[in-house]
Symmetry: D2
Subunit: 347 residues, 4 copies
Amino acid sequence: MSATMPAVVKAHAAPGIEMRDVPVPIAGPGEVLVRVDAASVCGTDLHIYNWDPWAQGRIHPPLVPGHEFCGTVAAIGRGVTTVKEGDAVSAEMHVACGKCLQCRTGQQHICQHVRILGVDADGAFASYCIIPETNIWKLSPTIPREIASLLDPLGNAVHTVLAGPIAAQTVAITGCGAIGLFSIAVAKACGAAKVFAIEVNAHRRAVAKEMGADVVLDPATDKVEEQIMDMTGGTGVDVLLEISGHPAAIRQGFAVLRTGGRASLLGIPSRPVELDLARDIIFKGAIVQGINGRKMFETWFQMEALLATGKLNLNPVITHRMKLSEFSQAMGYLQSGDAIKVVLKPE
Amino acid sequence: MSATMPAVVKAHAAPGIEMRDVPVPIAGPGEVLVRVDAASVCGTDLHIYNWDPWAQGRIHPPLVPGHEFCGTVAAIGRGVTTVKEGDAVSAEMHVACGKCLQCRTGQQHICQHVRILGVDADGAFASYCIIPETNIWKLSPTIPREIASLLDPLGNAVHTVLAGPIAAQTVAITGCGAIGLFSIAVAKACGAAKVFAIEVNAHRRAVAKEMGADVVLDPATDKVEEQIMDMTGGTGVDVLLEISGHPAAIRQGFAVLRTGGRASLLGIPSRPVELDLARDIIFKGAIVQGINGRKMFETWFQMEALLATGKLNLNPVITHRMKLSEFSQAMGYLQSGDAIKVVLKPE
Amino acid sequence: MSATMPAVVKAHAAPGIEMRDVPVPIAGPGEVLVRVDAASVCGTDLHIYNWDPWAQGRIHPPLVPGHEFCGTVAAIGRGVTTVKEGDAVSAEMHVACGKCLQCRTGQQHICQHVRILGVDADGAFASYCIIPETNIWKLSPTIPREIASLLDPLGNAVHTVLAGPIAAQTVAITGCGAIGLFSIAVAKACGAAKVFAIEVNAHRRAVAKEMGADVVLDPATDKVEEQIMDMTGGTGVDVLLEISGHPAAIRQGFAVLRTGGRASLLGIPSRPVELDLARDIIFKGAIVQGINGRKMFETWFQMEALLATGKLNLNPVITHRMKLSEFSQAMGYLQSGDAIKVVLKPE
Amino acid sequence: MSATMPAVVKAHAAPGIEMRDVPVPIAGPGEVLVRVDAASVCGTDLHIYNWDPWAQGRIHPPLVPGHEFCGTVAAIGRGVTTVKEGDAVSAEMHVACGKCLQCRTGQQHICQHVRILGVDADGAFASYCIIPETNIWKLSPTIPREIASLLDPLGNAVHTVLAGPIAAQTVAITGCGAIGLFSIAVAKACGAAKVFAIEVNAHRRAVAKEMGADVVLDPATDKVEEQIMDMTGGTGVDVLLEISGHPAAIRQGFAVLRTGGRASLLGIPSRPVELDLARDIIFKGAIVQGINGRKMFETWFQMEALLATGKLNLNPVITHRMKLSEFSQAMGYLQSGDAIKVVLKPE
């Protein structure tokens, strides 16, 4: 193994990113060194690239970003017992502290001192990365590599969809980026009665259809509320999965949520949102859930099981396959809205 | 029985109310005629009295308001089997349609075609009122009359408190009107670890203390967020019971809600509220519930059982006892904030 | 409409049954007269036919049995508003009292004073039957007649499968009569990871395969426990759906249930069963649920929604289609084990 | 600190136990050395003492038993951050593997590879014991020493009581050993409507009354089923907490459980039990839960919170306070049934 490796590095507190040769890290006790086989790009990486206010407040360069990936165990540190060299793996990149109230009561996914690899410490946009054994997910050999690089956002979708009953339910999904699109496939595979997908981008609407959405609506031209109320017999949908983070979509989603329905919110609004709490939540007796990350590791078991059924066709979401060294170009595709999911391969 | 009775009547589409003699109603099939023993005044009655925009949109005069009461069965209509003349009763005044999705799936409390007696049809501010048998609640003889007139708002409190785990939980209650105050007593009786009550009105804060609140805070002078975070070891409370409907209180409540906590919203804001969904709900993985009315009739069974334990001392909430004919005077007391709960007795 | 109709009648407290002409019933207030289009035969009907000890203790001849059916509204009684003449309908034949604790807390399906049409009062093995409006289920026009006659047992399956999480779960189903077979289809449609069906009868095992079971085992020749433990990585299944009522199957089911798993019991053992509570439930931290009937009417909404997705192919379960007048012959087929589900059509 | 310490040692695979001087253990990385302040005796210790079949199959002498205790941190191993020398602590003695399905999905309390300190490795009947940092519970200073030595069985009670709704519920508790008695106090503190305690031993029945049981029944002389059905209006209890493990008590408990009720089983029957599944679970639509250990660490947070309310008076359960060196005498008291809880203090 070479002593250095090519990596995507956020080197400075400024827009942009660069490819650099950096030392291959070494697995300490309880750690696993993983050779990265494929890594996917997330909106978060774009924030880091653009050096927006969120990135300025959170990121401490130099940093190797990247938190969606799969790879092969290259070496294990002392005490590691659950994987061995050569095992195919992915990883949960939210590293929980294990000591706070949340961690000690089965809610590590909302740990108060979480450290995210690829955000708060070096991640997977490199030939190798280091993962604590606790966070390693050993892959079933039946899962294709590319798909295995998407378990982080697929897990967001699975967490959101399965946060409440979904079988036999009507569902509105607001926002069809990768997570919204995955949510369509997951909801359908889990017996959703009818899935309404709402999205402004025409390409994403087309992919939503491919993923199995029963009805795809464009808020710019369709009368979303009227049509959904009509197609649900005036009742509204049983479940709202809000993945956009956009205030208008959030309000539209609540408007079509039925009395007594469930709203699972994953999309992150960039600022406070005005909501008609009386009409949309209180009189409605609605249940609203904040969804963060993936349940550790319930969501991972669920993903693996659903992928094994063969019912989840995630391929339409991967719009680009590129080399890791083409990272800046990938940023451009995502910026323009042409790309949904870009999978990168280190050389 | 006389053919007429004195009643409080909203006679015209204008502010004010009047005492009138009206015909004693007759129990039709499946209906129960109840002689009113005591009736309590709710904020809703004040809206009707003041003829505010909500009342203008909802109320069709002439109407006998009043939806919190207890009484004695005076006569039963054809087919009624569960009560007989002389039985002590109260009633759920939300009359569900029984035919909508919500009614057919155990959620009559959020029926889409609910009709509220005392709002949409004649209520209890009179010597007698008519109640469908389905909505009658036969009282345990151990419940004092005055207390029995408060089951509607006590039920709101029980519904809110027991909408999730409460034993061993820390709880913030924002707003100490009657329902907030009842919620304190219910939470403590059900094993809440520590109850923080937040209220601007000094008299109500004093009553909150009497009801068993562990810590009572005044948002005008106390550093509410700092103090609660401090007294919960920096974690925040497990449960927020929002009873005020006031935007600042709602935001303050969410600010002290712990990651992974439960927020049950009962208070009705008079207009849309700006919320930091990202910080307060999504990243927090919070569960937010809209609470409406009382579960039919689970909440009633719970109330009866809790009252029977003798652990709920509700008396401090009853600030005034008056004659039904003094209704306008009661409105004045409530308007001024001097009164919390006024119990009226027909003569 | 003729004044009489042919009906299957249990005329005497003895084995057997006869076809008779009986008066067409008349819909009273709140009742619906339904012309029967198709009616299916249940194991209960065989008990009644055979006049076994259960039937002797429960049935009061003369009785028209039959509680699985669909039909067309022929007439409505006074006050009926939710259906009209000509509507396609089925019905929940468990008529709840509406007044007991269970009925008043959303658990009508376990009403303490339930009256079952076709068991405690006349049912659907006739040209017409009478159903209270509360129990009528208006059919979506997309549901084929034959299938619509099976909603009662399909509802048992849906109730059992959806009594807990099913998506991404491994499932063992013990007993592949009609309800067990339906459960396979429902579990798969709702995202079950892997369904193991266990059944002694070779024909039913073949149908289980057709319904989508991933693995079908014969307890007579397969090492059921060993194989299931092996195919679940030594963990056992997440969910046990016990539909057989057979003591050996129940014990086998618990033996393969994973620690922390869910066991939903629907099959009715004919006598007490010896269970190793310590090993199978307590140390395992298992959840065991008794399943009775269909949730009223949540299960019906779920069935309708699942049927509308087109994912449930129930046809393999219908082994015989006969005339109502061939009832005794149908009994023979069921007795012999040749038949699974027999659908009868009145002439 | 001396190099050796007195300890209770199960030295041989035979009945009996002995006091021995053994080396004081040393805290390795991630471990905590605790000076034992008080340790309580559990029925399990009696099994080990008596060398019964269970002990013969599980225990590998030499062993220091003891798994209920509290103490003071004497030294910490490398990497320990959550406690420091001098801290008052107790500990969860079930050491979970952290790697199985159950551990990775928030169910460490039913870990498939659990190791119990005091059973599978040395425990607390000595001057010092070693505890992994993950299992240490830092004590609130308000909890008295003696009470702090009882958190293990108190946790069993809290886990059992809070495994489902308890506020406003009627509860039958079968078996009034320490855990049953604690369950009475916990249920009452959490708003149980009425607690029926069923116990054969007169002394324990008296303590049950002291703990707050509303009704205490002796199965030898009372008509338990008749009386409970009568005192619950013919409905039966909402909740059964089975702590005895005795077949007759289990059956009696199920007989008084209401339709739709919850049965939480903690008591361990020594052999399979015959149950009328049809009547007691299936038709009843009952929920049965196996309860094992304490939820890690939700139950510990709940215990601490409930103890802090001051509502749990556990003192009546402590019948004997002795020196650790009087261990064999303590065994005698427990054997005879004179003792409920014996608290031992090392010298």
